[in-house]
Subunit: 331 residues, 2 copies
């Protein structure tokens, strides 16, 4: 973050005012003074962004021991005592369930957006998920998700990560997303299906022909859409498709960061989904909540002037800062 000197220089009386041709000299003088005031504002605003980031970091630190305890209980590192509700190091009896089985799988499956990503084939592998964590990154700005897995028969990696590089922290415009290459064990890859075809009659080849085909899987999350180096090479339809894919990919990542990680227990029990909006309840906003049975009926966005405009504006950095646009609730 700059010390604000840049913005002061920018608004100094000596700098030329763009679009000032034809301004009356008196008006021009006033605009120069206004730019000085704007510079003072922008210095303050930079401090606000700094303080807000520090506040978030402070709370992330306060959440940390709670997340650790959650990890220990979920994975059976400690045992909750029946009578005193205290904890002791877990002594595993053979055949007994350890911790809370399939905790993260079930937490994610209770969230609408993530439920659509998780295929039946994925579930067995996702039961090995021990923890999900996230961190802000600063160079470039963005955040990183870490999926910690127990030793499992599907892939070799113990941690799968997904990193989002943003154009700017306060107006999150996604630059690119990067995922871990999953080292699948032979025949265990969940993002591809192997199709076996019998060879044609009369063919010299008597072995079945195998063909692999990409398929739906939660683990495709670790192979995010790639933006080609040369943007000019892609046609309009491809660009539009890519934009949609990247938005969907960011939706999944930010849901895991903002919903699943902080409220995993409430998602596991289903309370978060029941509440429609969990934060609201904590804030004592119960009155604001209504169950809208009809919400799912018709929510597609159509190709209309608005969408064009909105996306244009955002691509040009004109979206609002620090807050996502409202989705409209019909009641």
């Amino acid at each position: 973050m700059s010390d604000g000197k840049d913005s002061l220089d920018l608004s100094g009386l000596g700098a030329a005012i763009p679009n000032s041709n034809g301004l009356d000299p008196k008006v021009r003088k006033r605009v120069e003074k206004l730019r000085e005031i704007q510079g003072q504002h922008d210095e303050l605003e930079a401090k606000f962004f700094e303080e807000r980031a520090a506040l978030e970091a402070k709370y992330q630190k306060l959440y940390e021991p709670l997340y650790s305890k959650r990890y220990e209980i979920v994975n059976g590192v400690i045992e909750v005592e029946a009578e005193s509700a205290g904890e002791t190091p877990a002594e595993q009896k053979s055949g007994e369930e350890k911790g809370v089985p399939a905790f993260w799988l079930n937490a994610m499956k209770n969230h609408e957006i993530l439920a659509e990503e998780i295929q039946e084939r994925d579930e067995e592998a996702l039961k090995y998920l021990k923890d999900i964590k996230w961190y802000r990154i600063s160079e470039p700005k963005g955040f990183k998700l870490e999926f910690h897995f127990d030793t499992n028969p599907f892939f070799k990696n113990s941690v799968l990560t997904k990193t989002y590089h943003m154009i700017d922290e306060d107006e999150p415009i996604l630059e690119k997303a990067i995922g871990t290459d999953i080292e699948w064990y032979a025949g265990k890859c969940l993002t591809q299906k192997v199709l076996k075809k019998k060879p044609r009659k009369g063919s010299k080849n008597t072995k079945p022909i195998t063909k692999t085909e990409d398929c739906d899987s939660f683990f495709n999350f670790f192979s995010p859409p790639q933006v080609p180096d040369d943007e000019e090479e892609i046609d309009e339809d491809t660009a539009e498709q890519l934009q949609n894919q990247m938005e969907q990919d960011y939706d999944i990542g930010s849901t895991i960061r903002d919903k699943i990680i902080p409220h995993a227990v409430s998602w596991f029990t289903g309370e978060a989904a029941q509440d429609d909006d969990f934060e609201g309840l904590i804030d004592g906003d119960e009155d604001d909540y209504e169950e809208d049975e009809d919400e799912d009926d018709e929510d597609e966005e159509s190709e209309d002037d608005h969408d064009t405009k909105k996306t244009k504006g955002a691509a040009g950095g004109d979206g609002q800062q620090g807050e996502r646009p409202a989705e409209c609730k019909q009641q």
Copy 2:
């Protein structure tokens, strides 16, 4: 904001765990402990939201004197001294331009989203705009925009307001928007066009027939889309259209709040538009910015599975909190 007791009660050991049928009693005990930990987290989180709101309020207060000075210069309440760059109460010479003429009109016209809303017919009226302010409101949550107008020949009101009621502050789901009824002077209404037709030949009526018709105007912003009381009455297409209109309406409002009000001078001079993203520059992020000539080519969102899902999720309160979703930058 609650004192957190609600969320503690909710997570108490005595409360029933939803979806807990079939849980092994030992696992159930662990989940009960996890809910207690979640309750502690949620108490902390409520404090975080409180502190973040206080931080924002603190800075809004710090910006206030700068906005006042801006107001005084823009409207010629004080005069900027040529030599000392100080200010004195403005002494208006007849025929001389006062303050910075058409300041807010030009600031808004330099923003892509707002430029599309402002019709040529609107410009004369928008020159009377003296100030735009915003405030958070708490019951219900949301924010209010105030447009302060000088005495003008178009309408009687001196202040036009637009209020957004949100379902929740941290997951801004728009509930409804309310605008001031504009008291147009006769024949001055900018949101309607009067069409005059000559009466048919031979008709008894010899006066021209006048017909009023709604037309595009920035001032339609004060007549936001209305959500019908009974949601079930509207069909799918209408619901979709309404959703889009509300999103567009919120886009305009949040652009004015987050872009125009804090950086009006930079929008007036065109610097904000040039910078692609103004906050980024202040934060010293110049390196992150590229001019993307191709961005406007193909930004329509198509009706595809993703859009359906995304909107569904958001309507169900499942969007990410406190940050808007990324728009994807292709490079």
